[in-house]
């Protein structure tokens, strides 16, 4: 896929939106205005942006507990997401899901997920639908290094490989599984190596570099779309914040995070690259920064002003109770 001016600008808008949205969430939690278990994606923006820039409405993504970035990159309405996080009726899920269950199936977003690894078979099933219905769509599973130790990962890769499903398995290796370093729990140097057991091609991308993710994901997505089967794409990235908002981070060396943040910030790297290559100019970036900032502020205001769900809604939406005629 070609990187046109619009696509590059769109990619920057996506990454900036994820960054600003989550910085705002952290601020709101610290002010005591927002509650719940929140896991932020700060530092990993280039992965969601680089992959989703090449997906359309007929493509699906399954996400993780760290799912805001995937939702934004897949086009879920940010105002609805903010309202959801405030537990409001106007939220993406009417206040019933919260951070770990933001989903919009109409937009191809099969949900953040509170269970590590659970999205991987779901995306595999969405890829099966695409194959059987011949939609031309692909399904992408985003998951972490930790999830690559789950049976769901191994079973899904095996199934996708024998059925040659149009799936892309994107492992976001951020070096930490909750509070434990990845190299303690994963015996292979690269998680990409695990694809070999399933006769699946694997790629490794610099997850802090939008352009590298875009290129590698493009190759994987093109293979899936053309009937070439699934790919495991490992994106080496870093989680700037803790496992959850409020994590004291006692387990992680301070200088490690500082080094990544000063040397490898994906937004700064993107800006430097597009300016030096002449893909965008300073005005473009500032315009997007301003638009995004206003959008987030509006979303917060609208969410705070929105009504809570009625208590009677606690038992609605459990069942469809509908039926297809035989």
């Amino acid at each position: 896929m070609q990187l046109t001016y619009e696509r590059v600008l769109g990619a920057y808008r996506t990454m900036r939106m994820i960054r600003s949205f989550e910085e705002k969430l952290v601020e709101l939690v610290n002010l005591g205005k927002m509650s719940g278990f929140l896991h932020v994606y700060l530092g990993e923006e280039a992965v969601a942006a680089g992959v989703c820039a090449q997906l359309g409405e007929h493509d699906y993504v399954a996400s993780t507990h760290r799912g805001h970035g995937h939702a934004i990159a897949k086009g879920v309405d940010v105002r609805g997401m903010m309202a959801e996080l405030f537990g409001r009726r106007t939220g993406t899920c009417k206040g019933k899901g919260g951070s770990m269950h933001i989903a919009d199936i109409d937009k191809g977003m099969l949900g953040a997920n509170g269970i590590v690894g659970a999205g991987i078979p779901l995306a595999t099933g969405a890829a099966l639908t695409a194959k059987l219905k011949k939609t031309g769509g692909v399904a992408v599973a985003f998951f972490g290094d930790g999830a690559s130790n789950q049976g769901a990962f191994h079973e899904s890769l095996n199934l996708a490989s024998i059925w040659k499903l149009p799936a892309v398995y994107v492992v976001e290796n951020n070096g930490w599984g909750e509070f434990t370093p990845t190299d303690y729990v994963v015996p292979v140097k690269d998680i990409a190596e695990r694809a070999r057991s399933y006769a699946m091609p694997a790629l490794i991308a610099d997850g802090m570099d939008f352009f590298d993710v875009f290129a590698k994901a493009g190759e994987a997505i093109a293979r899936a779309r053309s009937g070439g089967g699934p790919t495991l794409l490992e994106c080496k990235t870093y989680r700037f914040a803790g496992h959850y908002v409020g994590d004291a981070l006692a387990y992680r060396p301070k200088d490690e995070a500082e080094k990544w943040m000063t040397e490898r910030d994906p937004l700064r790297g993107f800006a430097e690259r597009v300016l030096s290559d002449g893909l965008l100019n300073q005005d473009d970036l500032q315009r997007v920064d301003g638009e995004v900032s206003r959008h987030i502020e509006d979303a917060v205001k609208a969410a705070e002003a929105a009504p809570f769900p009625d208590a009677s809604e606690v038992t609605t939406d459990v069942y469809a109770d509908s039926h297809r005629r035989g």
Binding site: T92, A103, L110, L122, A126, A320
Partner: protein, 334 residues
Amino acid sequence: MSRELPTAFAIGEALRIALAGDPDVILMGEDVAGGGTRPAGTDEAGGILGATRGLIKEFGPERILDTPISEMALLGAAVGAAATGMRPVVELMFMDFLGVCFDPLLNQAAKFRYMFGGKARLPLTVRTVTGAGMHAAAQHSQSLYWITSGIPGLKTVIPSNAGDAKGLLLSAIRCDDPVIFCEPKQILFLSSEVPEGDYEIPIGKANLVRQGGDVSLVGMGATVNIALQAASQLAQEGIQADVLDLRSLQPLDEEAILTTLGKTGRLIVIDEATPRCGIASDVAALCVDKGFDLLNAPVKRVTAPFSPVPFSRVLEEAYLPTPQKVIDAVHELF
């Protein structure tokens, strides 16, 4: 012209009708085709019961999907396919195997619609063999429907005969919610009347299969036949029993249970599962909670004991509810 078929054949008939009528219906499971995936020659296994035999030839390998012995991927992919437009029917060979694939049901299928604010549809059916009676021991004989019945977002049904199996399965497949369809071992190879053609039995409605005014016997799956046998012996001593077949465990037809209780004032529930936290306990609680004024005697539960399912024929017979155990319980009420 009535005809009789074994339950396993009736299930196959329902699957054939569902597949023929709706291109979104697919079957997924271990050995649902078996050797039928080979390009030529060998015959298909058609699943552990042979219920799906012949379907791969009729509908092809794109709709009759043999999976690896990999239940997490099987259930998880079926949930993902259901959420995106297919109508999968999964064969989970034995309900005991829930242990290796519970998350897609417990945390995904059951909760999508609710967590996503009503914006998901999960038309998924999980067919699974339940219960004891074939000397299959502790890991292939459990009646675990009490687990799925206790999870909001799932529906659980259990037929007691071949004709009901066909109609309930067609309802389950066409339902837009995830349905666990239990196939009790003790009825799978019993024959009973199966109407021709396409018909549905509604989920959530119990069926009064015998009328009598003295005591209510409430059964589900294989225990309906036990209740009927007990009822005919009781009739010889002048006690007339209502026999209610629950058919659906979630939703539970509370009205039908309270109606029969109102008629007899005495109720016994017969459940092949273990006694704690189960359907029998639920029915008893319902009678006490909403039917207290209707009761003329304590509610009795005839269940399996609180133990794993044993292997030896002698032990398994001791484990299962029997007509005599039901009759003994009835005698305690008069």
